[in-house]
C-alpha cells in the first residue's frame, strides 16, 4: 500500500521523525483553518500519488489567507496526470538551507536491506545515482542483525552531509530504520530531508510503501485506507480481496497465480486480442472468491468476453466450478466466457461445469485454444 504524503508524514511522526507542522484539508475552509494552525507562510500541497505535482501547479506557497483561498480553490479538483486532487496537505513553509536524501528498502539481489543517503536531495534520486553515483552513499544491512548508530554515522559521513546536520540526520536515520522494519514498510524515503538555517534537520516529504502481507499485525493501518485513488474497478476488486489491475482491452481475464495471470494476458495479446485486466484469484481460492471475481469483471463495460484460466495446485477445480455456478445464479452474465481448467480436482470441476446449461459458458482444453476462442467471441460480439 502506497501512502499519500500526508499519511507518510503522520506515519513518520509516530516514529519520532520530525516533519513540518500541518494538517489535512478537503475544502477551502479547512485549508484556511489548517493554515492558521500551522502559521504563515504555508505551503498548499495536492495529495496525489504521482510525480511532478509542483510542475502541474499542485504545490503553492501562500503568505496570507487570500492566497490560501486562491490556491486551495485552484488545486482541489485539479487533474494531475489523470489523478484528480481530492485532498490537500497544508503545512508551515520551511526555510531551507540544504536538501538531502535518505531511504531504506530491500535489495532483492543482495537479499539484504539497503540504506542510502545523499547530500544531493530534492531531485530525482535515480538521476543522482546515474550521473554522480559517488554522491549516493549506500550501506547494506543484515536483516538478522540490524542497523547501528555507527553505521548511521558512517552513512552521513560518506554522503558528505554538512557537519551541523550530521547529529540530526543520524537520529532521523535510526528512527527511519525503525519505521522501515518495525513498521513493516517495503520502502521509506525522505526527499528532501532538509537542513534549516537555524540548524534543524527534518523531513519535508514522505514516501512510504507498506507491505500488505504484514497488515495482520498492523490494525492501525486502517487509518490509511480512508481515501483511495484506485479506479472504480480496482476499488471494487480490492474490497473483495482480489489482486486486480485494470488494463485497456476488452477480454476479461481471471487466472490463479500471478505468473499464469500475466501469461494469460500475454497469450491473449499474442493471438490478436487485448486484455481488459489482470486478475489473480490467488492460491486456494474458493467458490466465493471465484464468484466475486466474475462480478468485478462483468462490472467493466469494456469487457466483451471472459477467459478463465485455472491450473489447480492449492486451488481446487471443483471450488472454481462451483464459484462459476454461484456467480451465474447471483448475477446476470450476458458476456460469453471460456473456461480452461486443469490440475487439482480438474475432473470434478469439469463435471460440475458440464451441468451448467448456459450457452454463454464454453470449455476449452488448452490455454492457447481458449485464448483464441475468447478473442474470437469478443470480436464477434463487437
Amino acid at each position: 500500500m502506497d501512502l499519500f504524503e500526508y499519511q507518510g508524514k503522520q506515519y513518520f511522526a509516530r516514529f519520532g521523525i520530525p516533519v513540518s507542522l500541518g494538517g489535512v484539508a478537503d475544502t477551502v475552509e479547512q485549508a484556511v483553518a489548517e493554515a492558521d494552525k500551522a502559521g504563515y507562510p504555508v505551503v498548499v500541497k495536492a495529495q496525489v500519488q504521482v510525480g511532478g505535482r509542483g510542475k502541474a501547479g499542485g504545490v503553492k506557497l501562500a503568505t496570507n489567507e487570500a492566497e490560501v483561498r486562491e490556491h486551495a480553490g485552484n488545486i482541489i479538483g485539479l487533474d494531475i496526470k489523470g489523478h484528480v486532487v481530492r485532498r490537500l496537505w497544508v503545512e508551515h513553509a520551511s526555510d531551507i538551507s540544504k536538501e538531502y536524501y535518505a531511504s531504506f528498502t530491500l535489495d532483492r539481489g543482495a537479499k539484504q536491506y539497503l540504506g542510502m543517503v545523499s547530500a544531493q536531495g530534492g531531485v530525482e534520486i535515480e538521476t543522482v545515482a546515474d550521473e554522480n553515483p559517488d554522491a549516493l552513499a549506500r550501506i547494506y544491512i543484515d536483516p538478522a542483525i540490524g542497523f547501528t548508530e555507527a553505521q548511521a554515522r558512517q552513512l552521513v559521513e560518506e554522503a558528505g552531509l554538512d557537519a551541523e546536520a550530521r547529529d540530526g540526520a543520524i537520529g532521523i536515520l535510526l528512527n527511519l530504520y525503525r519505521a522501515y522494519v518495525e513498521g513493516d514498510a517495503d520502502l521509506v524515503e525522505i526527499n528532501p530531508l532538509i537542513l534549516t538555517p537555524d540548524g534543524r534537520v527534518h523531513a519535508l516529504d514522505a514516501k512510504v510503501t507498506l507491505d500488505d502481507n504484514a497488515s495482520f499485525r498492523h490494525p492501525e493501518w486502517e487509518d490509511f485506507r480512508d481515501i483511495d485513488e484506485f479506479d472504480e474497478r480496482e476499488r471494487l476488486a480490492r474490497s473483495k480481496g482480489l489482486q486486480y489491475v485494470g488494463l485497456d482491452g476488452y477480454v476479461g481475464i481471471i487466472a490463479n497465480g500471478a505468473g499464469l495471470a500475466m501469461s494469460t494476458c500475454d497469450v491473449v495479446n499474442q493471438v490478436g486480442g487485448s486484455p481488459a485486466n489482470f486478475l489473480d484469484i490467488g492460491g486456494g481460492a474458493n467458490a466465493e472468491v471465484m464468484a466475486n471475481a466474475l462480478e468485478v469483471i462483468t462490472s467493466d463495460p469494456k469487457v466483451r468476453s471472459i477467459f478463465i484460466n485455472i491450473f489447480g495446485g492449492i486451488t481446487r477445480g471443483e471450488e472454481v466450478a462451483n464459484g462459476i455456478k454461484t456467480a451465474l445464479g447471483r448475477i446476470d452474465i450476458s458476456i460469453p466466457m471460456v473456461i480452461r481448467l486443469d490440475g487439482t480436482n480438474a475432473e470434478e470441476g469439469r463435471d460440475i461445469l458440464a451441468t451448467v446449461t448456459s450457452d454463454k459458458v464454453l470449455s476449452s482444453p488448452t490455454m492457447l485454444e481458449a485464448a483464441r476462442k475468447a478473442v474470437e467471441l469478443a470480436n464477434s460480439s463487437n
Binding site: V245, A258, M262, D266
Partner: protein, 294 residues
C-alpha cells in the same frame, strides 16, 4: 536422478492438522512420497490417517528420522516454523505459505545463511518440488507430470510450473525434477541454484526455465547459463504485456523503470544462448524438439 530430493526422502509436514496441510500432505502421501510425521504444537500424540503428529519438529525428527520438511502454516507462523525446522537440523525445507511479510522473509533468509548454511529452503510462496514417480512435496497435482526425464524444470510462478509440466506431458516428454522457487522477494532457492544442480545431474539433459517480470534473478540466471550451463535451456518469461509500475499480484512481479522488464530478461537469456519462447505451449513444443534431437 533427481535434484534436492529422491525416493528416499522422508518428509515431516508442519501444519499437517490444518486444512491445506492435511489435504496436500495426504495427497503427497498417496503419490508415494514418504510422509513420516506431522507437526502441530499442542496436537502431539494425535495422528492424521495413521501419520503420527508431534508437538515439535525436533521430536518428529528424533522419532522418525525425517530429512525434509513441508511447511504449510499460516503467514504469521511461517518464519518461526522454518527456523524451527532448521534448528532441528532438517536439511531441506519446502515452504508453500503465501503472504509472509517481506521483513520476516528477509530475516529468515539471512538467519539461515549465517546459522544454518547447509539448510536449503525452497520458497516461500512456492508450489514445492516434484520428482515424478519418486516424490512430490508441495501442492503440485502429481498426475500432470510424466516421470523419467530427461527434462528439468525450474519456475518462479506456481501455476506456470504446472503449465510447464502439463505442456511437456502433452508432448510425451518426462521430467527428472520440477522445482517451483516461488515469486516472493527473498526466495530461499533461486534459479542459479537449480540450474547448477540440473547441470550436475546426469539424467537431466535439458532444462526449462519459467521466469517473470520484476527483480534481476532471470538476468543472473542468464549470466550463469552463459558461464556454466552446457545443457540446452528453454526459457519463457511471463509479463510482456504488464504495464510498468503496477504490482501484478504477488510481491515478485513488479517492474520499475527499465529493470526487470520481460523484454530485458528475454534479451539477456537469448544472448546467453537459451531458446527463448513466447508462451508456455511454445516452451513445450521447443523442448520436445530438443529432446528428439538428443
Amino acid at each position: 536422478m533427481s535434484i534436492f530430493v529422491d525416493e528416499s526422502t522422508t518428509v515431516i509436514v508442519q501444519g499437517l492438522t490444518g486444512g491445506q496441510g492435511r489435504f496436500h500432505g495426504l495427497r503427497n502421501k498417496a503419490y508415494g512420497t514418504k510422509i513420516v510425521a506431522g507437526v502441530t504444537p499442542g496436537k502431539g500424540g494425535q495422528d492424521v490417517e495413521g501419520i503420527p503428529v508431534f508437538d515439535t519438529v525436533a521430536e518428529a525428527v528424533a522419532a522418525t528420522g525425517g530429512n525434509a520438511s513441508f511447511v504449510s502454516v499460516p503467514p504469521k507462523m511461517a518464519a518461526g516454523a522454518i527456523l524451527e525446522a532448521a534448528a532441528a537440523s532438517i536439511p531441506f525445507i519446502v515452504c508453500i505459505t503465501e503472504g509472509i511479510p517481506a521483513h520476516d522473509e528477509a530475516r529468515v533468509y539471512n538467519t539461515l545463511a549465517s546459522q544454518y548454511p547447509t539448510t536449503r529452503l525452497l520458497g516461500p510462496n512456492c508450489p514445492g518440488i516434484i520428482s515424478p514417480g519418486k516424490t512430490n512435496i508441495g501442492i503440485t497435482a502429481g498426475e500432470i507430470a510424466l516421470p523419467g526425464g530427461p527434462v528439468g524444470i525450474v519456475s518462479r510462478s506456481g501455476t506456470l510450473t504446472y503449465q510447464a509440466l502439463y505442456e511437456l506431458k502433452q508432448m510425451g516428454v518426462g521430467v527428472t525434477t520440477c522445482v517451483g522457487i516461488g515469486g516472493d522477494p527473498v526466495p530461499g532457492t533461486n534459479f542459479v541454484d537449480c540450474l547448477a544442480a540440473f547441470q550436475e545431474d546426469p539424467e537431466t539433459k535439458a532444462i526449462i526455465m519459467m521466469g517473470e517480470i520484476g527483480g534481476a534473478e532471470e538476468e543472473k540466471a542468464a549470466d550463469f547459463i552463459r558461464s556454466s550451463v552446457t545443457k540446452p535451456v528453454v526459457a519463457y518469461i511471463a509479463g510482456v504485456t504488464a504495464p510498468p509500475g503496477k504490482k501484478m499480484g504477488h510481491a515478485g512481479a513488479i517492474v520499475s523503470g527499465n529493470t526487470g522488464t520481460a523484454k530485458a530478461k528475454m534479451e539477456a537469456l537469448a544472448a546467453a544462448g537459451a531458446h527463448v519462447v513466447n508462451n508456455p505451449t511454445e516452451a513445450g513444443e521447443k523442448m520436445a524438439e530438443i529432446v528428439k534431437g538428443l
